[in-house]
Amino acid sequence: MEFFENILYGFQVAGQPINLLYCFIGVLIGTLVGVLPGIGPAGAISLLLPVTFHIPPVSAIIMLAGIYYGSMYGGSTTSILVNIPGEATSVVTCLDGYQMARQGRAGPALGIAAFGSFIAGTLSVIGLMFLVHPLANVALRFGPPEFFTLMCLGLILVTYLARGSMIKALIMAVFGIILSFVGMDIFTAQQRFTFHIPQLMDGVGLIPLVMGLFGISEVLIHIGAPVPQEILKAKIHNLFPNLKDWKQSIMPIFRGTGLGFFLGILPGAGAITSPLMSYAIEKKLSKSPEKFGTGAIEGVAGPEAANNAASGGAFIPLLSLGIPPNIMMALLLGALMIHGIFPGPFFIKKYPELFWGTVVSMYIGNVMLLILNLPLIPLWVRVLRIPYKILFPLILLFCLIGVYSLNNSLFDVTLMIFFGILGYFLRRSGFELAPLVLAFVLGPIMERTFRQSLIISGGSFSIFIQRPIAAASLLITFILLCYSLIRYVKRE
């Protein structure tokens, strides 16, 4: 009964006109950045973080969450029509989606992607509501050693699933942690790495960091390599898949949803790996696997459902444990922290309107996306035709004003430009930026819990292996590290 009361309460919060407006803005921007190959959801969220200071935290989180799951919808449009994945999560959709479009079936491909995303998004929100509560109860038993080891595991998983070299991803994670130490020490108020610059006493700001790394560096990368813009000229008609399409797609959608949801909960690149796994599973289960890659609708439905379900699952560790499983969740955590809100086991009890409001807004957002996506596809195709040379000055301007408007500080702007240049060189040299930002957000919590653990144990590291949850997390971390080492030696 309490559950339904909570849902009703969530509808009251999310249904307020102002929150509906921010939800709409969020999903609209999300779809837009999903469509545009030049800017991703991490960049868009970081661009909009400064705006969220001026609005209530519930509206802010509703909007930022909307950008995240909205971008999952939008990413598929470019994959199907242009063969360019708007997001890394939509790479697999290119394989069959683009082939369907070439055969004149762009409409059903776009339609099934939208419907599959809707079903997966909605089911994953239901799963989120059922799972967050029990997990938060388990988290009540967590002390500093458990939190510290769990965060270590999260970071290792993120680096383990990195697309490039794991060593480079680890370097980025350690660099992110060290960067988070800049400013005053939380225990002794001693200054660290501030170089007597007063603006650094509060530490490096999250927003100059992410806007530099994702906004500025993205422009610098793209200006060197323009995005090809070949758009399918064929007219898109019949967006509603027929009965045969539905028959072929419905089971892949359900399987993709389950797979994506559970992979999304795990720290790491759930949203990126789940579509790949879903595609592989559907190909294996199919009676005619040779059709895959030539325009099989199952190859669009399953992966699209998987990446949307993963975005719902990713909220679970953030809201129940306070541990973000991916970069987007780290940015959401940053936004919450800016408003003085720290997610964790007590989050639902302390901020029920924030939790239930956000969760229910995701239902509403999914409906909005479905309504928005189908009729607006011709508009998105037009948006795709906007040349990057028109877009990039606008992205730069938003970065500049966004960062400046935070504290009216030109130092923050200079810091952002510095991180933009750094991000450019790191990306060109094969370093991924996501582990850096994730570690930067987790760094202060890791340091606090590590030092608290040592104080509790009187300086003994055994506290990390004597407590079962901490020991299990450490063991998995160790196994992952050993496994990647063995894999490397075998490859040699």
């Binding site: 060593i167 060290i178 060197g224 408007s405 060109r428 300086g459």
Partner: protein, 125 residues
């Protein structure tokens, strides 16, 4: 900034540990690269149009220098005009209208709607 004792960890303990770890990982990366001539996931710097990159970076720094002197409206208009005309040259009317519209719209969004404060500069607007 001391590292303290294990039962009383100081502010330098984690940076010290992190520094050592960073050193070991960087060394491992370097050795692996040398041993196998690995290119990894590097996009590399081949074909980079350096002049454009420098121009953009200089423009960004110019924004930070000019903003307190010329104020928001003039600085933003000039910077946007340069970005539209100097980096990937557009027709004059595209560049002028793009710079004008982006300046006015962002001013309305940030300064008027969101009540952010921007310097007025020597011309007081």
């Amino acid at each position: 900034m001391g590292i303290g004792k294990l039962n009383e960890p100081g502010p330098g303990l984690m940076p010290f540990g992190g520094g050592i770890l960073l050193g070991i990982l960087s060394l491992a990366d370097l050795l692996l690269k040398n041993a196998r001539g690995l290119k990894g996931e590097e996009i590399g710097f081949k074909g980079v149009r350096w002049s454009r990159l420098f121009l953009i970076i200089i423009t960004l720094f110019a924004f930070t220098l000019l903003l307190p002197i010329l104020g928001y409206l003039i600085t933003t208009f000039l910077v946007m005009l340069f970005l539209y005309k100097g980096i990937e040259p557009q027709k004059w009317w595209v560049a002028l209208s793009g710079a004008f519209l982006s300046t006015i719209l962002t001013y309305l969004l940030f300064a008027v709607a969101l009540k952010s404060f921007f310097p007025e500069g020597i011309l007081s607007f």
